[in-house]
Amino acid sequence: MDILAISLILFGLGLFGALTRKNAVAILMSIELMLNAVNLNFVYFSRTLIDLSGQIFTLFIIAAAAAEAAIGLAIILNLYREFGDIDVEKAALLKW
């Protein structure tokens, strides 16, 4: 139970960072925090219910997170080339 609460708070912190940060890399790091909170939950349930599926889901999530980080950083590099900055509030070309 304690670990569920820890992962809940960790997810909350990540959510707060993703909502408030202006730097694109910082937003990416907050998203990683949220993904890790979910992983912690999966491993905890795997341990509590003595079922390996939770750990397998965690491995898949880690792989998806690696893909996400690679694509995200490529996009951030493009953003930097386009605007000379990675402030997400400046990337507002599609904003009406």
């Binding site: 997810f11 907050s30 880690i62």
Partner: protein, 156 residues
């Protein structure tokens, strides 16, 4: 023991989302990810813990630090790190956490007795039988993502 780990984890996560210098944020995130690996070892998931160390602390952190170095000039003045939505976001997060706490309190989870017998061998067996298709799909996803990253980040 677990509470010391939890304290380190939550403090470093808090620093990750609040520090102004983006490089310091990355270092705090590395500490948080290392602590999570400790949690996985504590929870009888040694393979997941090792993967956390190799992939998150080893690969993703390096990627993030590279991105920071490629996009931040050393002499840059540090702008305010947060946008104008701190209070609304804080409110939203607090409401979310309260709902989560209510859900956890209602949860009727009965811990099964005993330990997993040889989780690493079990993982290998499951990955190549029950989860064979997702396993192959995720490898394809990784390949596509890496090729895509190269194409997107290419100049011109």
């Amino acid at each position: 023991m677990i509470y010391v780990l939890a304290a380190i984890l939550l403090i470093s996560a808090f620093l990750t989302v609040t520090l102004k210098n983006i490089f310091h944020c990355a270092l705090a995130l590395a500490v948080a990810l290392l602590t999570l690996a400790g949690f996985y070892f504590y929870l009888d998931a040694p393979f997941v813990g090792v993967m956390q160390l190799i992939i998150y602390v080893g690969a993703i952190m390096i990627l993030i630090i590279f991105a920071i170095m490629l996009t931040t000039r050393v002499g840059d003045r540090l702008l305010s790190a947060a946008n104008h939505q701190v209070m609304p976001s804080l409110l939203a997060v607090i409401v979310f956490v309260l709902f989560g706490i209510a859900a956890i309190r209602k949860l009727d989870l009965v811990a099964k007795a005993g330990k997993m017998s040889d989780p690493i061998a079990g993982l290998g067996r499951e990955l190549l039988t029950t989860y064979l298709l997702p396993f192959e799909v995720i490898s394809l996803l990784l390949l596509a993502a890496l090729v895509g990253a190269v194409v997107i980040a290419r100049k011109d």
